[in-house]
Amino acid sequence: MTAPIRIARSGLERAEALLDRIFGARWNPLYQLGALGFLFYWVIAVSGIYVYVLFGTGTTEAYRSVEYLTIDQWWLGGVMRSLHRYASDAMVLVLAVHAAREFLLGRLRGPRWFSWVTGTPILWLVFISGISGYWLVWDRLAQYIAIRSTEWFDWLGIFGEPIARNFLTPAALDDRFFTLLMFIHIVVPLLLLLVLWLHLQRISRPRITPNRGLLVGTLAMLLVLSLVKPAVSHAPADLAQVPSVLRLDWFYLVFYPLIDHWSAGAVWGFAAALTVILVALPWLPPRRAAPAAVVHLDNCNGCGRCAADCPYAAILMRPRSDGLPFRDQAHVDPARCVACGICAGACPTATPFRRKSELRPGIELPDRSVADLRERVHAAAATVTGSPRVLVIACDHCAGAGGAGGATVAVPCIAAVPPPFIDYVLSRDLADGIVLAGCRAGNCYHRGGIDWTEARIAGTRDPYLRRRVPRERLLTVWAAQSEGARLATAIASFRDRIQARPRCRAEPIGEHG
């Protein structure tokens, strides 16, 4: 990771921590940027339908109808227009932050390229939707956008007539032009919805609605902003005049001054280069991807827990093919598997107590097997010194990545740890306490890891952590990479706590497997 990216990531994590304190992990807007994008989409759609009902498609009717909405019917039409404007701006804002955040957190490599690459046309479609909307008002700003946009497209030389000629004189402009624009302004957002659906295809249980508190707060913010600072038009378009001073919407029109100051070709080159770089980012620089999870059919009973927990819809349950008396078997799609190991953590056969047979669960990562995890736990436990003995199991993306001081076992995701391992460590007296360190709450690198781990410990999601495991000797810490100090403090406090309590040994345990 280069220094600027590391600094930016640290800044992002600080912002997330601050918003965690203000909103709590469940309502933190930075963890729900995609869902907020969807919310803004629906606000734009509803307000847009209302504005469309009263919109006049004509060179004079367009401006007049928008003025009617803004001034005469300010209490509803004006509010709807403002909601349409501000929700559109907010959509650009959350998309930009969403893309930057996914980049900084490295959530674009491997099979996650699909969501990243399908996100690029979303940016284009959002810009086209917004810009075509500004055009419809047919005020001075619309005139400026229309002329610059058509000049920009004319550079491509794909139109017979220069389309900028449509805006030479008022007589050159046809009412039907507004019908065409309206068609674009409706069809492109519908196309956007289709691409958004595609964008989520490789994600299980995508969050497309923000938590209620965040939803209510966001809608209230948009409404208050619409009332306090309603969206207004410029003077009506006049093709005999050059629009000079313009109140640009910088969220959508930020590139237009470039068309003024560069050549159209240079702006096309810039846009193309930006698009190519964005699309290529998941492979810059190329890295070897971790191998996908593999299914050991002889140990797979087709229970489907791995498929239920997989955050990327990479596991499908298919009819049994090996003659064993089970209905289904797990099947991994390597193109979708990000090698998070959550499937192995969910597999009921991944129990370290197994001694009589090889520790080979129904599903696991080939290069980070469950048997290897047991060996590493033993090796780490052997290095634990002092009292009390604390063993840390940390995911690759949290504050404990690279070691949390003392004995640390690394896993790709905290939910890759099968719950029996916790039982195993404490009941076999490998340590006096065990710490599970993962990403910040609500912000798991592999999406579902923290939720599944907490649910397994709480006994609400299979595979459960057995009741006999003394919870006071188990600590979960959800801390981002930049929160090493917080993790260290939590571990120190945990040590003190268990030091003060006598060793509570678990009941005798029978061997599994």
């Binding site: 203000i22 907010a90 000049e151 220069p162 000629r165 913010m221 313009l246 109140r247 003024d260």
Partner: protein, 177 residues
Amino acid sequence: MARLGAYLGQGVVYALVALVLGTFSNTPAYRGFPADSAELVLSFSHGAARKGDCRRLTPEEIAALAPNMRRPEICPRERVPVTVRLALDEQVMFEHALPPGGIAGDGPSRVYRRFTVPAGRHLIAAALRDTERESGFDYAAEQTVTLAAGARFVVDFKAELGGFTFDSRPVAAERAR
């Protein structure tokens, strides 16, 4: 108390986001055009004369054609370039031979250019050649106009209106002899 603090904090965050949205949705203002200037636009789409004359076919040539393709004469498809010159106060701003459009070079020649000029009184002169002649112009027009600051003045060419139009109005433009 902590809950109240959290709600206050959320209010501050929402207010900051609203401030960003409300501010950058229309400020800072952008001046895309100098205050004391006007804009002169030269744009037209005009098909020039064909390269070469039409030739009558001999009866033998007509007979050699497919029955549905028979015609008395053939004409070259390709057009000559349109040469245009635009001058402001006798200073040439644009002079170019515009190639015909289309793969076969049989389409109209097209141009669209914008010029930023000082506001004030100017002599605008335009000339155009659309035949095979090698010098001189087939059409010419000029007019003295006062361009107010921020005005947009369009020079177009419409053969059906007799030549150049200045701000949609035909100007004295006669076909040169």
